[in-house]
Symmetry: C2
Subunit: 213 residues, 2 copies
Amino acid sequence: METAVLYHTDQAAKTRRDILKAAVDIASAEGLEGLSIGRLATELGMSKTGVFSHFGSKEQLQLATVEAAKEVFLEQVAQPPLKSRRGIPRLKAMLDRWLSYVERIVFRGGCFFAAASAEFDSRPGAVRDKIAELTRAWVLALQDEIRFAQGRKEIKGSVNPALLAFELHAYVQEANWAFKLFNDRSAFVLARRAIAQRIVTASGGRVSQKSKR
Amino acid sequence: METAVLYHTDQAAKTRRDILKAAVDIASAEGLEGLSIGRLATELGMSKTGVFSHFGSKEQLQLATVEAAKEVFLEQVAQPPLKSRRGIPRLKAMLDRWLSYVERIVFRGGCFFAAASAEFDSRPGAVRDKIAELTRAWVLALQDEIRFAQGRKEIKGSVNPALLAFELHAYVQEANWAFKLFNDRSAFVLARRAIAQRIVTASGGRVSQKSKR
């Protein structure tokens, strides 16, 4: 393969990444539907044709944007907890990383998937299916960690994993909602206290609120 | 005043109500930004001019739509619990009515305010301010009922009302989110169990899960 071709390919991949970086940020705040080729071209100082050549259609652009957001979520939220011991320490790390990704405003519109799911839940199609699949995977990962903690007797056997995951997931989504709407950081304090208390109760007192993760 | 004028005024008010009824339903599913005069005219079989004459601008239409959604929320969710005794019975009724309004699909897009706040949280302006004001009023109403219940010793004095309201509010929003995205009614079962359990814990066991509201 010639160097020129290689360069061209590398450059194209870099441009595509730049477009998607802007796309994820815009979509988190203004919605995936507001993600027009024209809007992206303006934001990036590119021609519409230039942007369009990387994606065949608006739906392809939206799907690629969801995929790019997934990569950021994996890197910022889902992967770091893998360094924590399995069970309650990892469960806490998952929730803590998720909250901190909202708090640090990784995306200007808060949690990308919260915004995208609220926008697409009534719009059937490939984009909605992708968002549902990815968010469900995260809920299932929380449930799985709860079950593991039950196996280690860190969480009471009488606790329903789906119910506990529902509650913990709800606290982070609520913090994201309240922070974005009221611009009030106290929502993170409330979410952290709710999570800590709920885990203490679920552990039957085996885990204290002050325990290290 | 002549009869013709009266009729005209009544008719205009009725048309405005019809437009707003459609607008709230569309906005709950497709967003307030998707609420164009043209879209409404098509849905209602009216001329664009006819729809436009009732609202001066898109922002006015959006604000009127939020106001119309508020009326439905008051009638369907906020007012019926006023018949329940204050304290825990009323708190439970507020949450139950809210859940059932989502479950009965009063608006095709689920909870209007959940959809609207996710859409507008990054769009400064009068519409966002109105949505924030109304949703905050509901959070404060929940807190107020919790404080009342504490005054009656139905909820432990050590419970933080803002934290408990945060948790209970989170469960309903989570159910709305999960139901809309996964089309899975088990989210309502989980939310009702989470609410019941959380209230039992907050009451220090004074309220049993089976207690009547």
